[in-house]
Symmetry: C2
Subunit: 144 residues, 2 copies
DNA sequence: TTAGTTTCTGAATGTCAATTTCAATTTTCC
DNA sequence: GGAAAATTGAAATTGACATTCAGAAACTAA
């Protein structure tokens, strides 16, 4: 978390951005939870203690975090973009429960390797990828 | 293609839908091309020869095809949903060029297998998945 | 500290694709 | 042919994201 704040501050400095209490607030709330927040989610959470904060401010901050490389934008196809704090070197993909919406992370180097092979076969250079498995999580299978 | 029309007709019958010239037209245009159409794309293409056709009609037809299992909805994160004809048993994933937008299909059973292993480790039951590699296609690397 | 400059905030508004509405039309079935 | 039901397509609505703008706050230099 300290690393991420440092990275963000450096990025903000480079961009000539000012320090504002709102941005600090949003950054801390964002980093302090393992959640996969949509703008809406984080906005509603922050409003509880900071009723004056604006949706646009939260939205701009999250986009900024993504630009600075301390957040990744996720799209699980439900019409809402989610943001996840990015810990350097901790790439992972997601298991998304279609029943309860829970999100679990996974990482499988052998898949990444095969991906590279596939790309190489097509003369394709991978910049990024998206790999999501949708289905029922262990809890929802039980309830099934 | 005949299979898909048969599947669709059966699905339409079950749903108590009527046969209309527009839907037939849209279905044929959709199946007759390997493209990954957005509603907009297909609408514009159809309008050339059928100026009276409506956007909503095309949109409804494509959603219906997806419901009937002869099309899959794709979202490459560019703000437009694309539809691809689904040939039974021919699952594949996509390489998406971020430069020219070209879409190439790939299939790698070993990745599918590893996916299942990952899911099993988490007690997760996969219903569907999404796996996309974004980057530069061979043509765009050359132009680079 | 203070004046001056620049950025930021937040309410409101704009944008864009997806979706819905509804009156007119078409299909289906008797 | 005619009634009932579904479909069409223009227009309006929705919903998420993005932008605008006037006032507020943060920096900068003297």
């Amino acid at each position: 978390m300290k690393d991420q704040i440092a990275v963000f501050n450096e990025c903000a400095r480079r961009k000539g951005l000012k320090n504002t209490s709102q941005r600090t607030l949003i950054l801390k709330a964002f980093l302090s939870s393992p959640s996969h927040y949509s703008t809406e989610d984080l906005y509603l959470k922050l409003r509880k203690n900071h009723p004056k904060i604006g949706y646009a401010t939260v939205h701009r901050a999250l986009k900024l975090f993504a630009e600075c490389g301390i957040a990744v934008e996720l799209d699980f196809g439900d019409g809402q973009t989610r943001f996840e704090p990015l810990t350097i070197g901790q790439h992972h993909d997601h298991l998304v429960c279609t029943e309860c919406g829970s999100i679990t992370e996974f990482s499988e180097p052998r898949i990444e390797e095969l991906q590279e092979q596939v790309a190489a076969q097509h003369g394709f250079k991978i910049e990024r990828h998206r790999h999501e498995l949708y289905g029922l999580c262990s809890k929802c299978i039980g309830r099934g």
